[in-house]
């Protein structure tokens, strides 16, 4: 099941040129860009691991693209995303976030039903990948 998370998630995966253009858009807006990775793709997992610090004071996307490549090399079987943070006072939030790498095989999620009181059913999602311990997920 193809994971759809963040901006552009229903588009085909971006090429490096397209990623470069999106990063340029972030830099033009004065948003510091960060690279993050995870092997726990639950939609409510907001704590992805940071790949280095967010990158401030950059003018050109080449440096960030180099970091993305490094991150892909180190974690070839994890999700990698790029985020642009808008630090303006009234916004102070992630303004743009999109995936730049996904594992070759994405097992997807299972719907879980939990019986509550009075025949109430609670629904939740469970990622098949997280059945394995961290670091062993998405291995061949």
């Amino acid at each position: 099941m193809r994971l759809t998370q963040g901006t552009f998630s229903y588009l085909p995966d971006f090429s490096d040129e397209e990623i470069t253009e999106q990063i340029q858009y972030c830099l033009d807006n004065n948003w510091p860009v960060a690279v993050e990775h995870t092997d726990d793709p639950h939609p409510r997992n907001v704590y992805w691991d940071m790949w280095g610090l967010p990158m401030f004071d950059l003018k050109d996307p080449a440096g960030i693209l180099a970091e993305i490549r490094e991150c892909r090399k180190a974690f070839p079987n994890q999700y990698v995303r790029v985020t642009g943070y808008d630090r303006r006072f009234t916004r102070q939030t992630t303004a743009l976030s999109f995936l730049v790498q996904r594992p070759a095989d994405e097992p997807g999620f299972r719907l879980e039903r939990q019986e509550g009181h009075d025949r109430v059913i609670r629904y939740t999602l469970h990622s098949y990948a997280t059945d394995k311990p961290a670091g062993k997920r998405y291995e061949e």
Binding site: D57, L58, K59, D60, P61, A62, G63, A66
Partner: protein, 312 residues
């Protein structure tokens, strides 16, 4: 990448018969404008300007060849500027960034000035991220490393400078499309620096040497600075300032144009002081005029025994 579009269309129009209109391409690239500015605003430095024009020409031709489908390997653009302090190395580096940007060889054309502090860390594992950060900031522009020889400290084998140099070399090779590195410093020390880092020497394609300014050139620089700040010398004070320059140039720590700038700053200080002490009403002219006494007060004019003191 400002011009390539218009350049290409020019070429298409003119290159129908297999001919390439060099004049049109030259005009479209705006190089002349940048070089003219250089000519106007930078005094002296004839060999440097000539070399810059040559480099600009080479880059333009390389770009034309590329557009015509001829083999055009990206020329090595890393440079070394050697010369004594105050000979305009940083100023020329800023211009260089603009020329390269205009020719489309760097994408942004900004200049990042770095010294040892920006590249070398203080403890194990600190250097690599620090150097990387600086390199990333400079991407798409020019990285100017002032006094580059401080990176390498042969007397301390645990120094982290070597690590920074290695990362630099790697980036100069791997990111040659994204980054132009200019190293600068005194001639002699740069020579020993290159000698002990042959890898760096071979990656630097252009070695520009900045000559010292003559007294006449320094005077022209002073005139330019003074005019820009809307002051002016009168005939007498001009002669005195000329004498000041002659004396100052003989003293140690003479830093060419930088010394001139400092001298002018101090002259302005004394002029302001003199005006206030006189008090009363002064003509507008007086606010701009530099008097001989403003210059004469300088320590440089004192007896020879004191001369070696500091620049005051």
């Amino acid at each position: 990448m400002t011009q390539p579009g218009s350049l290409a269309s020019q070429l298409e129009a003119s290159g129908a018969g297999g001919l390439v209109d060099l004049d049109a391409a030259y005009k479209a690239s705006n190089v002349q404008q940048v070089l003219d500015e250089l000519q106007q605003e930078l005094i002296g430095l004839v060999p440097v300007k000539q070399r810059l024009a040559e480099i600009a020409a080479m880059l333009l031709i390389a770009r034309l060849r590329e557009q015509q489908g001829l083999a055009a390997e990206r020329p090595t653009l890393h440079m070394s500027f050697t010369g004594r302090p105050g000979t305009g190395k940083t100023t020329v580096a800023v211009r260089m960034a603009r020329i390269l940007h205009q020719l489309g060889y760097v994408r942004k054309g900004h200049l990042v000035v770095a010294t040892r502090d920006d590249l070398v860390g203080q403890y194990v594992g600190h250097t690599a991220p620090k150097t990387k950060e600086t390199l990333k900031r400079a991407m798409g522009g020019v990285l100017f490393i002032d006094e580059a020889y401080y990176l390498y400290r042969p007397e301390n084998e645990r120094d982290y400078g070597q690590e920074a140099i290695e990362m630099l070399l790697q980036a100069m090779e791997a990111h040659r499309d994204d980054l132009v590195v200019i190293v600068a410093g005194y001639k002699e020390r740069m020579d020993t620096f290159f000698h002990s880092n042959p890898g760096l020497h071979s990656r630097v394609g252009h070695h520009l040497e900045f000559p010292d300014y003559s007294i006449d050139e320094l005077m022209a620089i002073a005139d330019l600075m003074v005019t820009r700040q809307q002051y002016h010398f009168d005939a007498a004070s001009r002669a005195v300032f000329n004498e000041y320059l002659v004396r100052r140039a003989r003293l140690p720590h003479f830093a060419n144009a930088r010394s001139v700038r400092n001298a002018i700053d101090r002259i302005k200080l004394r002029q302001a002081n003199r005006l206030l002490e006189t008090g009363g009403k002064v003509a507008l002219e007086e606010l701009a005029r530099i008097d001989t006494s403003d210059i004469r007060q300088s320590r440089v004019f004192e007896s020879d025994s004191d001369e070696a003191a500091d620049e005051r």
